[in-house]
């Protein structure tokens, strides 16, 4: 059987590889693999994160059947393998462990999963699986459909590098870059600014989606979103500026203010879209030297956030915010107030309609954003099963009302970063729940977020 070498991109884990093994009693097992590592022409390594059935089986019966896929063409490659040994130290183990730890930490699961061993398999045969796909007229590398989601980013990146590596001139490089970013990622409005180190400025050398006005505009390093990105050399993305949500303008205004309020001049010669809903700017850095900034804007809400990655908890988003990985975040008041007081975070606005007792200087969004009816809060209510007899409900309500008026209770609640509230009537609470359901339910529907977290 002729040995075929799957293209390197098959090993990137974009499409999970699949494997079958067989227990000593003859029961087959089929499962997905997160990563297959190519060692040499005759060996591959699989990561063992849990002592699972696959591992158990190959210890009993070393044979395995593996299939992996080309993430661009979806062609399948089939390998017959034989388990050789497990490594628990050494360079292979270390590099696999690092990769797994990065994934674990990114998903908030450091320590929950880690590499137990690098399992090495001999490749007995490798073939391209003819007949897996029905040939159709598809141009490889073309961008026929809009790409969405995290896997598309790898594909997009691949397309960008494929196109750029053939170019020899700077102007062509820049225009091709911006054109390809639009085709591969949908970045319709983009520009590249290069640094002039002498006068601490960035000059636009290429732009797309702004007409002629984009060329020639300049930004002072340290000023505005792009200037800050240049100064800090960190990517900033501000999105979620959905007009209907009314978050947009407020965040944009306040982020710009927070960036360098004092130095901010009324008008910066920035070829920005007047109605941009999302911004992203990333520093172009070579070694320690700043070469420039690539900036993109979008009129779309979540323009650069097609991949919705919600944080599992406030502590994680606080860490990322303080680490400069994200520019702004909605945070639970209780946890962030101490950090705000210490000056580690800066509060721009509160999402409640009224000020928080512990942050009397921070204005509500409704006040500063021009969306006077804006309110996005979590609330706490005491609920009982619907069949609870009325006298019990009335008694509970009266008691809670009484408790909620107790100054000690109010103080405790305020200390948690919450707003103490006089219990409204049962009817009022019912209609409040109803109005919240209409408000958020409608928004979830409108944004197509049903079923997401």
């Amino acid at each position: 059987m002729m040995r075929v070498k799957p293209p390197a991109r098959c090993y990137q884990g974009v499409i999970p590889a699949v494997i079958a093994t067989c227990a000593a009693d003859g029961t087959p097992n089929a499962t997905y693999l997160s990563h297959v590592f190519a060692l040499d022409d005759n060996h591959v390594a699989l990561s063992c994160q849990f002592f699972n059935k696959t591992k158990q089986n190959v210890l009993e019966n070393p044979y395995a059947s593996l299939e992996m896929y080309d993430p661009v063409t979806f062609e399948a490659y089939h390998m017959e393998l034989r388990y050789v040994r497990a490594e628990t130290s050494g360079p292979l183990f270390d590099s696999m462990a690092l990769r797994i730890e990065a994934i674990a930490s990114h998903t908030g699961m450091s320590g929950v999963f880690k590499l137990l061993s690098s399992d090495i398999y001999e490749v007995l045969s490798a073939v391209k699986l003819d007949g897996f796909l029905v040939p159709a007229s598809i141009e490889i590398g073309s961008v026929a459909e809009p790409l969405v989601g995290p896997r598309s980013e790898l594909r997009g990146l691949q397309i960008v590098s494929q196109r750029l590596c053939r170019i020899g001139r700077l102007d062509e490089l820049l225009s091709t870059l911006l054109q390809t970013l639009e085709e591969a990622f949908g970045f319709e409005h983009s520009m590249v600014l290069l640094t002039d180190e002498r006068d601490q400025r960035l000059y636009t050398v290429a732009s797309r989606g702004y007409g002629e006005q984009g060329i020639g505009s300049e930004v002072k390093i340290g000023e505005g979103l792009i200037g800050i990105v240049a100064a800090q050399r960190k990517l900033i993305r501000v999105s979620g500026m959905e007009e209907e949500l009314r978050y947009g303008r407020a965040i944009r205004a306040t982020v710009n203010q927070s960036a360098s309020r004092r130095e901010l001049r009324p008008e910066i010669a920035l070829p920005g879209l007047p109605d941009a809903q999302s911004h992203m700017a990333l520093p172009l850095v070579s070694g320690v030297r700043l070469l420039g900034v690539l900036a993109v804007e979008s009129k779309k809400r979540l323009g650069f956030d097609a991949t919705h990655v919600p944080y599992r908890s406030t502590p994680q988003s606080v860490t990322d915010l303080m680490g400069g990985h994200i520019a702004a975040s909605f945070l639970e008041a209780g946890l962030s107030i101490p950090l705000i007081k210490e000056g580690k975070l800066r509060a721009l606005a509160v999402s409640s309609a009224q000020r928080l007792p512990l942050l009397p200087d921070v204005p509500p969004f409704a006040e500063v954003s021009g969306a006077s009816d804006y309110e996005g809060v979590s609330w706490h209510m005491l609920l009982v099963p619907s069949k609870t007899p009325q006298p019990i409900i009335d008694r509970l309500h009266a008691e809670m009302k009484h408790i909620m008026q107790d100054p000690a209770m109010r103080e405790q609640i305020a200390a948690l970063g919450l707003i103490p509230y006089d219990s409204p009537s049962i009817e009022d609470m019912r209609s409040y729940i109803q109005s919240e359901r209409l408000k958020w339910g409608g928004m979830v529907k409108q944004l197509g977020l049903e079923g997401s977290q």
């Binding site: 499409i15 699949v18 494997i19 079958a20 093994t21 067989c22 000593a24 003859g26 029961t27 087959p28 097992n29 089929a30 499962t31 997905y32 997160s34 849990f50 699972n52 059935k53 019966n61 044979y63 395995a64 059947s65 593996l66 299939e67 993430p71 661009v72 063409t73 979806f74 399948a76 089939h78 017959e80 929950v112 999963f113 699986l129 003819d130 007949g131 897996f132 796909l133 029905v134 040939p135 159709a136 598809i138 026929a144 459909e145 790409l147 969405v148 989601g149 995290p150 896997r151 598309s152 980013e153 790898l154 594909r155 997009g156």
Partner: protein, 160 residues
């Protein structure tokens, strides 16, 4: 004792999820293959999975030899996965009517992967028909969602 699937699992299995079939030969050499569609039997104790005929040779030979089969189902966006283990009840060419349900699976599968950036046009190239309909009796069911719980026996929905 066969395992009976809950309504919820039936829905999961038929929702366009990714599917793998594991078999083995007389010498216990395993074989992996993707399945291209599956429907649950009316008794909910059996499942018919479809294997694209062009690449099913080894799996079919293995099933003819010993009938041992594992069917793993996984939903791409959250990796929720389930593995059914059982014995072959029957194997035949899929009919034109079954082709319709396979095409429904194919469309659903393409949507699942489209979310991750695989263009529909690429997924559409997957060979789906002609296919072999492989019916298995579910003897056991395991949680396969990645994590420490992977491999745990799925207890809920166990029938008599």
């Amino acid at each position: 004792m066969a395992v009976r699937l809950s309504e919820e699992l039936v829905e999961f299995i038929e929702s366009g999820v990714s599917m793998l079939v594991g078999t083995r030969d007389a010498a216990l050499r395993p074989q992996i293959q993707r399945a291209v569609g599956a429907i649950v039997g009316a008794d909910r104790e059996s499942v018919t999975a479809y294997l694209a005929k062009a690449i099913a040779g080894k799996s079919v030979a293995n099933l003819e030899d010993n009938g041992c089969i594992a069917l793993t189902l996984s939903r791409p966006y959250d990796h929720r996965s389930l593995q059914l283990k059982g014995k072959l009840l029957g194997m035949r060419d899929a009919t034109e009517i079954e082709r319709v349900s396979q095409e429904r699976w194919h469309a659903g599968f393409a949507e699942h992967l489209y979310i991750f950036g695989m263009p529909r046009s690429v997924i559409r190239q997957l060979a789906v028909f002609p296919s072999i309909a492989v019916t298995l009796r579910i003897d056991d069911m395991f949680v396969q969602t990645p994590g420490p719980g992977a491999g745990r026996r799925f207890e809920a929905g166990r029938g008599s």
